[in-house]
Amino acid sequence: SQTIHQWPATLVQPVGSPLSLECTVEGTSNPNLYWYRQAAGRGLQLLFYSVGIGQISSEVPQNLSASRPQDRQFILSSKKLLLSDSGFYLCALAASPLGYEQYFGPGTRLTVT
């Protein structure tokens, strides 16, 4: 079965500092990968998705970028964090073409101060 690892679990960063969140997956090949952000008490906002190595699609233009250097690695980055970047970041995969279900990692809680 698929396993999704995210680190770090929590992160406190000052405004203007860089960001790198990593997601790695196991138990599947060539998955679709997703980055979501969840504001406190709210639903999930899709930020980026990737259907393969080096292929990134952005859903919402903002202060973040994503990369997929390997099939099972998905990275979320920022050069300069804003206060509004605070939130709970979730990585997910869909083991296409087996189905549309998505499997989520444990998340990273980011607080920008």
């Binding site: 997703y34 979501y36 259907v51 990692g105 444990p106």
Partner: protein
């Protein structure tokens, strides 16, 4: 926006009672899914219902889908304290890379 909305935003019931949550969405869909999220954790997939299905069961879960009204409901029967969590509906469009659009969630509290 394709994002769905759940109703109610919060629900508190006694253990053993049934819990019903509703979801409305705006565009045509391929399928609709329900997820559960315990506080501070990732989401867990519960059930998927395709656009040509009207009802689906999984254990104590029952999901209905009315595509003419663009709405779905999730029923949890004989609730338990462990069912306390937030529940989200998510819609998958008829095109795209399996992208899901999530609703705003219902916070369910089951009182022992």
């Amino acid at each position: 926006s394709q994002q769905g909305e759940e109703d109610p935003q919060a629900l508190s019931i006694q253990e053993g009672e049934n819990a019903t949550m509703n979801c409305s969405y705006k565009t045509s869909i391929n399928n609709l899914q329900w997820y559960r999220q315990n506080s501070g954790r990732g989401l867990v997939h519960l059930i998927l219902i395709r656009s040509n299905e009207r009802e689906k069961h999984s254990g104590r879960l029952r999901v209905t889908l009315d595509t003419s009204k663009k709405s779905s409901s999730l029923l949890i029967t004989a609730s338990r304290a462990a069912d306390t969590a937030s529940y989200f509906c998510a819609t998958a469009s008829q095109t795209g890379a399996n992208n899901l659009f999530f609703g705003t969630g219902t916070r369910l509290t089951v009182i022992p």
